[in-house]
């Protein structure tokens, strides 16, 4: 029982001491701007049990503390770079917190990363070739840099793309920045039907299909081949590859048919399926 009483007193004393208020530590080598890699602020204080955290604009960074001769020295772990700007050193003693405003800088400038966003990423000459563009630059630590050749951090404008179907990159070597100019709809359907005696078929090709800017119409575009003879109608479908769609129509029962190819509302000139 006596041992229990003893330990109770010890615990009460220990917790009681921890809760005593302390005076704000005095920063003995104050500076407005701190280089994070050279960080060594010293504080005069009689207590050793301080915790220190550096609050930058985006993240808290726990600092190392060392205490000797009534002096508390702080240092950052490693040589990690930070987001520059206003920050605060926070000294924590129990429930007491003391803040010291600073301005953070990195020791050396980091390599620039150029960012350019395009919207919409896919344009189609059937509708609009206009893109919105936003540009900014930052270093690898996410510190904004002035846009090249301009004295602003963000640059935004509208650009009109050339009507050339292609996959382009807004930023070189960045596949994710790719944007796409699609081909538009075809304007005409050249149609030919050739009788292949040995295969007993009419080999029908539609193409090359081009849009109004001369781009080859997109692969996979559905071409409908409608041919009719007397009262019967036939509907055959094929998809475009490299601007051409081809179908084989058996000769049997189809000689003399009138053939039309259709892509959406565009209809070809009629072709008669003849063996000679």
């Amino acid at each position: 029982m006596r041992i229990l009483l003893y330990y109770t007193c010890v615990i009460l004393l220990a917790t009681g001491c921890g809760g005593q208020p302390v005076d704000k530590a005095v920063w003995v080598n104050p500076a407005d701007t701190l280089i994070i890699q050279d960080l060594q602020p010293r504080f005069a204080t009689g207590c050793s049990k301080w915790k220190a955290v550096l609050y930058s604009s985006v993240q808290p960074l726990e600092l190392h503390t060392s205490f000797s001769n009534n002096s508390l020295t702080l240092s950052a772990a490693g040589d990690a770079a930070v987001v520059e700007g206003p920050a605060q050193i926070c000294l924590e003693y129990g429930k007491q917190l003391f803040y010291y405003p600073v301005y953070l800088k990195n020791k050396a400038a980091a390599p620039e990363i150029y960012k350019e966003f395009r919207s919409p990423k896919t344009v189609n000459p059937d509708s609009s070739l206009v893109q919105q563009r936003i540009i900014y630059s930052r270093d690898i630590n996410c510190n904004l840099l002035a846009v090249r050749g301009k004295s602003v951090y963000f640059f935004e404008d509208e650009i009109k793309l050339a009507p050339r179907a292609a996959v382009e990159r807004a930023v070189k070597d960045d596949a994710l920045s790719a944007y796409y100019v699609q081909p538009g709809s075809c304007i005409a359907i050249p149609l030919q039907a050739v009788f292949r005696r040995e295969e007993k078929i009419f080999y029908v090709t539609a193409g090359p299909l081009k849009d109004k800017y001369g781009n080859t119409v997109a692969d996979g575009t559905l071409v409908s081949f409608n041919y009719d003879k007397a009262a019967s109608a036939a509907h055959m479908e094929a998809t475009l590859l490299n601007g051409f769609a081809a179908v084989s129509i058996p000769v049997e029962g189809n000689e003399g048919c009138r053939l039309l190819a259709t892509v959406n509302n565009i209809v070809s000139q009629p072709v008669n399926l003849r063996t000679r």
Partner: protein, 986 residues
């Protein structure tokens, strides 16, 4: 008890996956293992309350599952309960007869067919738990009535508390069928032996007086039982009152007439009650011989009657139509078998080693007794072995499915953000649910479901919709069509029967998993929207979590306490000694019936397996031939053809492979068959066979004519003259343009970055018309994929009515959901009936299209060559050929037809599919009647349709006259075929 381990313990892990209910209870157990105090279970039916079922069994399995895997936990629990049940039978039997008889009764319980079936075929753990504790409660109740000891009352109530917490139905009906007869018997045994009147009426009067004298005991007992029944599972009663079941009655085999549905009778009546029927003379004699058994006799015969289902109208008259249609009646037969156990044990005990043995030996000799006993025992054990393997002989469930590939699929790429549906899984769908946090729209506990698409139809589960006939497929169709409403995006299909329905409702095959399960996906489905759980007070949640499991804990503690402090040697000193008298005819009947019954049963099974004559008449031969065809047993079917060197199995299969295929041969089940003899001579016959097939797209009918010949007393079908259509080409080429969506290019588990997305593809409404044709209303039109990539399009019509009523409608199968670049599809979205829409008063009609990039499903195949012939009135006949220019088979050739007027306006769209597949390079004929509606229907111009594409308002393109339609009497068609080859992942 060791016998239980030996007989049931070694096999239960293997019979468990084939049972009806085990996985449902495992799923509930998994719920409690994850969320003990939260009764809202979101994984089934868009959410339901687990307070809809007493929790104790599930909670107990959940507790065991903290140490063992779920399946093992279930097995441990099941065997433990079976041990308690055997003890219960022993104790229960002791209130009837002596200890030896009770011992035989306990042994009998281990191998009683009803018990074996309930455990190994049905997996009904709550029923067995309820019964196990009820049987243990009855001796205490008997003691309480006879001796009035307080400890007996306490023990009665604790055991009944477990019954109530385990299975409400056993608790409710147990009062009538078990507790009332026990009370009656206890009162009877409490009468002084010399004051028991011989007259039955006076005897009953004495019992009533005796009961009145003990009114305080009864008031206390009754009051406490009712309080327990209400209080222990109060949340259940609260739920059933505040959220009553709205489910229409679901057909169950136990309610069938067992005369017209012999298979139901076999499963639900004959097999579980086999021994009871075999020993019925002895049981009936014993149970009616003594007045103290009057209550049991009434219970036994009443249970037997109710267990006979719809064979007679009496059960429905007794239970009332409502209860009759909700309850599964096999449980009554089960209870009858339990009541009969002591009486069967009494007879068996006496016949094997008692006075009846001496009687038999005296009359028929000892060897006769030995042979009879041995053969009866042997055939009965064979019968029990048959029940153990019933699921193997008569498969009740699909083969076991490895669930890990599905779990992997659900876990990756945020697939859990949508709901899924299983098809053809049987009860294993509950096992998948128990192992995943993903949600399904289906479920396996229909009392709790509240989705109108399910509650209004007599469908047990969506996953086995094909077994529920037209209603089942209609219900499934609702979900597949209105998938957006329930965020249903994935279907795991284990049955290709559903493939046509899925495809024509806009679902695309995504991947075949390692376990052979095909995953179907629907595009443009929103992720699961938060569902507000049904309110239940925190107090009730705590009560649900604590009270039932506490009841079990208290029962165990009190039993230990009772055994150590109260158990007496003269425990059953009030039970009168029963003699072994049976009349001669009863002995003979009860001794011979079992051997006759079980020998006949086993003989019949062997006959059906090995000796059945499948070809003894032309009709039988044809019926059996079609039966084999239906189950795809082609080798068996081949043996019905006249044997000969020119027609080998190889030739038959080759013929099938080039001739068969399509909706009927590959995706249909035989619904009915009618064989008509056209002509018959001595050794030859010509039969016309009319078959009706169920497909997921509706019924199809077919008529065949078969020639048969008799050879060596067997009828054979003459092989058909095989003239296959052969394409000219030896090799065929076709250029497909396939697309690959590159998917996530940013390798990160964070939500997709904006840079990572493909834009919403462009689409254009070419036209959309609101058409009213009599009572039918629909939106018909055409939509174009205006983009350069294949798209999936989701259409939705929103009609706003007065009083803020908003209803959404989705297209069915009259639409091509996936389109190639610059391809267009007709569509038709069915709305409500004219009466309904006019009553609600339309304010506005909006048509929404959502597009998404697609990489499959945009090939619709085939070249229809057609003419349209005029018919009577507005009827026309579209007929022609479907030419297959592709390098793959058109598995289900189909066309999407639209009716256009002279100006090019679309009035209706309709899908037509044809039964036979078309092989590559060949053509198949088709003809389809089509009824034009332009003359009687009206375009509802007073309700203009507001169009939206990807959330932005759009207008229609100018409508132009269609020359092809004009040439074809206003009918235009586009191909819409299903290609089953997975290489294209259509």
């Amino acid at each position: 008890m060791s016998l239980v381990l030996l007989t049931h313990g070694v096999i239960i892990y293997f019979t468990l996956p084939k049972t009806y209910d085990a996985f449902v209870h495992i799923f509930f157990a998994d719920h409690y293992a994850r969320n003990w105090f939260e009764p809202w279970e979101y994984r089934w039916y868009t959410g339901f309350l687990t307070v809809s079922y007493p929790p104790l069994v599930h909670q107990a399995i959940a507790l065991i599952s903290k140490l063992f895997p779920l399946k093992v936990a279930f097995c441990i629990y099941a065997i433990s309960i079976f041990e308690i049940l055997v003890i219960g039978v022993y104790r229960f039997s002791k209130i009837f007869f002596d200890k030896t008889t009770a011992g035989v009764a306990a042994l009998l319980a281990v191998v009683l067919s009803s018990m074996v079936e309930t455990l190994h075929v049905y997996g009904q753990m709550p029923t067995l738990t309820g019964l196990a504790f009820l049987l243990n409660a009855l001796p205490f109740l008997y003691q309480y009535i006879v001796k009035g000891k307080f400890i007996s009352l306490v023990m009665t109530l604790t055991f009944l508390a477990v019954v109530i917490s385990s299975h409400h139905v056993t608790a409710i009906f147990g009062m009538a069928f078990f507790i009332a007869p026990t009370v009656f018997m206890a009162l009877a045994d409490g009468l002084p032996p010399n004051k028991q009147p011989r007259n039955l009426f006076r005897y009953l009067l004495q019992i009533v007086f005796s009961a009145l004298r003990k009114y305080k005991q009864f008031i206390l007992l009754g009051g406490l039982i009712i309080s327990f029944a209400i209080g222990l599972i109060f949340p259940y009663w609260y739920w059933s009152k505040s959220d009553p079941i709205t489910q229409v009655s679901i057909p169950h085999g136990s309610r069938d007439s067992f005369i017209t549905h012999a298979s139901s009778g076999l499963i639900f009546f004959i097999i579980p009650l086999a021994l009871i029927f075999a020993l019925l003379p002895a049981i009936a004699f014993s149970i009616t011989r003594k007045k103290r058994f009057i209550g049991w006799a009434a219970s036994f015969f009443l249970c037997l009657l109710l267990g006979s289902g719809g064979t007679t109208p009496l059960p429905q008259m007794l239970l009332g139509k409502n209860a009759f249609n909700i309850l599964t009646l096999d449980r009554f037969g089960f209870w009858a078998s339990v009541i009969a156990i002591p009486f069967m044990a009494k007879f068996i005990c006496s016949f094997l080693a008692g006075p009846l043995r001496d009687w038999w030996i005296k009359r028929f000799s000892a060897p006769a007794h030995f042979v009879l006993s041995a053969v009866t025992g042997f055939t009965y054990l064979l019968f029990i072995v048959f029940i153990f393997h019933l699921a193997a002989f008569r498969p009740l469930q699909p083969k076991e499915i490895e669930i890990q590939p599905m779990l992997n699929f659900l876990n990756r790429d945020d697939h859990m953000r949508w709901r899924y549906l299983t098809l053809g899984f049987g009860d294993q769908m509950a096992w998948l649910s128990a192992n995943s946090l993903a949600a399904t729209v289906d479920g396996n506990y229909h009392s709790a479901r509240r989705l109108p698409e399910l509650t209004t139809r007599p469908v047990e589960r969506l996953e086995n919709a094909k077994f529920a006939g037209d209603e089942g497929l209609a219900s499934l169709n609702d979900f597949l069509m209105n998938a957006e409403k329930y965020s249903l995006k994935y279907v795991f299909s284990n049955d290709r029967y559903y493939d046509p329905l899925l495809y024509y409702n806009g679902w695309s095959r995504t991947i075949r998993l390692e376990n052979g399960i095909m995953v179907w996906e629907k595009g443009n489905i929103s992720t699961i929207k938060p569902v507000v759980p049904k309110e239940l007070s925190p107090l009730l949640k705590k009560a649900w979590g604590y009270i039932p499991v506490s009841a079990l804990g208290i029962t165990i503690l009190l039993t230990v306490f009772y055994l150590s402090r109260y158990k007496q040697k003269d425990y059953f000193d009030n039970v009168p000694v029963a003699d072994d008298f049976y009349p001669g005819p009863v002995i003979c009947a009860s001794a011979l019936l079992p051997v006759i019954f079980f020998t006949f049963f086993i003989g019949k099974q062997v006959y059906e397996l090995l000796l059945v004559k499948e070809q003894d008449s032309p009709q039988t031969a044809v019926l059996n031939y079609y039966n084999h065809l239906d189950f795809q047993r082609f080798e068996n079917a081949f043996h019905f053809f006249k044997p000969g060197p020119a027609y080998t199995l190889d030739q038959y299969l080759l013929g099938k492979s080039v001739n068969d295929g399509g909706l009927l041969p590959s995706f249909a089940k035989l619904d009915s068959i009618d064989v008509k003899k056209l002509n018959s001579k001595n050794d030859s016959a010509t039969l016309q066979v009319y078959t009706r097939w169920r497909t997921s797209l509706g019924h199809r009918e077919k008529t065949d004519t078969l020639q048969l010949q008799k050879l060596n007393k067997k009828w054979y079908i003459l092989p058909p003259v095989f003239s296959p259509e052969i394409p000219e080409q030896q090799m065929k080429s076709y250029t497909y343009t396939l697309f690959k969506k590159m998917g996530k290019r940013v390798i990160s588990s964070f939500p997709t970055e904006k840079d990572d997305r493909v834009k919403k593809p462009f689409a254009v409404f070419k036209q959309a018309n609101f058409i009213r044709n009599g009572q039918q209303n629909f939106i018909a039109g055409e939509i174009l994929n205006a983009d350069d990539i294949p798209v999936n399009i989701a259409l939705k019509v929103t009609v706003r009515y007065e009083k803020n009523i908003v209803k959404d409608y989705y297209p069915g199968n009259a639409f091509q959901y996936n389109l190639s670049p610059k391809a267009a599809s007709f569509f038709q979205v069915q709305l409500d009936s004219t009466v309904r829409m006019d009553a609600l008063k339309i304010l506005s009609v909006e048509l929404y299209a959502e597009t998404d990039v697609s990489e499959r499903g945009y090939m619709h195949g085939g070249t229809p060559v057609y003419t349209v012939a005029a018919g009577a009135g507005e009827d026309v006949l579209v007929k022609g050929k479907m030419y297959n220019e592709l390098t793959t088979e058109l598995t289900i050739p189909g066309i999407l037809m639209a009716e256009k007027d002279a100006a090019g306006n679309i009035w209706q769209a309709k899908l037509a599919v044809f039964p036979a597949a078309v092989r590559s390079g060949l053509s198949g004929n088709f003809q389809e009647p089509f009824h034009k509606i332009q003359k009687q229907a009206v375009r509802m111009a007073q309700h203009p349709i507001t169009l939206f594409i990807n959330g932005q308002r759009r207008s229609v393109l100018p409508v132009e006259p269609d020359a092809i339609a004009k040439m074809n009497k206003g009918v235009v068609i586009i191909p819409h075929c299903f290609l089953s080859q997975e290489i294209y992942l259509q």
